[in-house]
Amino acid sequence: MSDHDHIYSTKFQDKVERSTLLMFIMTALTVAVGGIVEIVPLFYLPNTAMCQNDPTCNGTSHKDLQGNAIPMDKIVWNPATSAHKTMEDWMPGDGVRPYKPLELAGREVYIREGCFLCHSQMIRPFRDEKDRYGHYSIAEESMYDHTYQWGSKRTGPDLARVGGKYSDEWHRKHLKYPRDVVPESVMPNFFFLEKAPVDVTKTVKTMEVMTKMPFNPVPKTIYSAEYIAAAPEALKGKTELDAVIAFLQSLGNEVKFEEGVNYRD
């Protein structure tokens, strides 16, 4: 018996090693398992903010201390049931809404400049994070964030609830020349955003794209044809700096969090 016929492991392993096809198939199956188990359920289970065409978001139910369920339209803004019917009327606390045109344009700049590489938008349920940044983030808050922006690094502070914390004027100064406002900052100067006008065509197209998303699209009742048609007017004369500030100011005040509610179960 030659050495090549000797089996040093199991018969099956030996067979796999001799056959390119079998090795290919076995490998393709083995590497698929983990992803399927961890990812596929996230499209079906509650508490994953998969809300398309389903006001309960896959049966999500956040309960208060008395065990009463909080209606989901308090978490995710639904113009049909809310007192405030349009994007203009929407008030902080009405629930998660899609971005307004200028905010969306700002978000594009935020991604373009790689802000997510140094700033997270995901507050964890710890005492210090609550004291520093505010209530922990919940899944619904990023349901319209196509290309999520949770980030992985805090070279700078978390921005999930930066909306309303500073004035527009502070942001303007800080974004242009951060060290004029915060001497220890290591952030680059983004003064050039002030000279760049907002890309209106791109923003309008982005709004259309957001309504076509296969998962969690922006409802066409919110991004209606009229609303999209009115976007160029809202963007008129605005700079990329205005847009980024509008985006930052929109972050984190959408849901009114009730004391004692566990939004994580």
């Binding site: 390119t20 994953t48 210090d128």
Partner: protein
Amino acid sequence: MEATNATPVKYDMDVVRWFTIAAIIFGVVGTFIGVYVASELAWPFLNFDIPEITFGRLRPLHTNAVIFAFGGNVLFATGYYIVQRTGATKLWSNKLAWFHFWGWQAIIICAVITLPMGMSQGKEYAELPWWVDIMIAVVWLSYGLNYVMTNAIRKTSHMYVSNWFTMGMIVMITYLHVVNSLAIPVDWATSYSIYSGVQDAMIQWWWGHNAVGFYLTGGFLGIMYYFIPKQSGRPVFSYRLSVLHFWTLTFGYVWLGAHHLQYTALPDWTGSLGAAISLAMIIPSWGGAMNGMMTLSGAWDKLRTDYILRFLVTAMAFYAMSTFDGPVMAIKSVNALSHYTDWTVGHVHAGALGWMSMISFGALYHMVKKLWNTEMYSDRLVNVHFWIALIGATTYVVAMWVSGIMQGLMWRDYDEYGTLTYTFVESVSAMHPYYVMRAVGGAIFNLGTWIMLFNVVMTVRQASASRSANPVAARA
């Protein structure tokens, strides 16, 4: 390992030579950009108010350059080298391999142009615009087809273990790249992921961690299983351990991505599952590391004279260390501290500089000697490169470990009145000395890659000179 044919096989090694040279050049370029972005954090004036070179645009260029330009070219050079020599066969298609070579370099050029322009999809390590993603898919599949078919036409009975790992990488990266890159374009520069929020986060880190697990680990373990035995002249320590290593790693690594999202809005079960499997992964990882190290048993004395072997063995030490560091960081209570800090950056670079680069340098030196059929221009410079790389990597990693833990502790510190002790910006200024130290460590490491480039250029020139002087001997 290699079939002992009566007539020597004629391999397609030209394309391997080109991949090798490309790898060495991009090793220099990628780490240089790394030093620059690290310096921008230490001295922000280095952004020079030029949008194209601000940290946010240059950092993706660094990660893409080291992972896909340097790492990619190393993987393809070694992959094509190993598959031919262990299968005693030429490539299935030499033409397709050349398409792969030029296609991959074209992708790199696209990255160099688009990333500084700010064309980003906003996903870490998958920033490249959607049309470059399509180019990647096409070139990657051409590689996969060629690789699998070359295995299929091999003259040897069994597929060698290195080829299992490379095949695993090819399959997994195809899954990951396709699923994670699904996006709807707005225009040439911008596109948005079809997933949002929780689902997008999980898919991104399924991609992100497995780019590490299969591309930067699986593929490089293929290198380890071929070049350590070759360079040390000893057979792999344990065949059975390599079987165990391969299947457990292939099955297990896929689950780890969720540990990047602990305590986020991702459901707890997913993060906990990722953490549990992460801990279990110490077993295959250390099994593999031991397998590489113990291959030297009976030949440890070679480390005194063989500088290439020093790279390969040190890489295994770093591999063992990173695969211990990683699971520890995946433990939920540790992750609560380490997440969002520079500890993560330190961990990544322990793997990237210590494991991945070291094993690459060793394999590249080994291949240069074989491919050009010559000795190195200077063995002493190989040794100098080794020590410089080791000092640079250690300086970098220590700076980031220490500062990362400090950062995490500062953020959560409370004073006696129950208020936060430090403002955020105090943690930023406390980082400064460590950012300087990190930039210095990176610069030292980068210096080593320049030495390698010089040494290899001189070696190739020397080989060509001797070949033209003595054509008969060179052909032998």
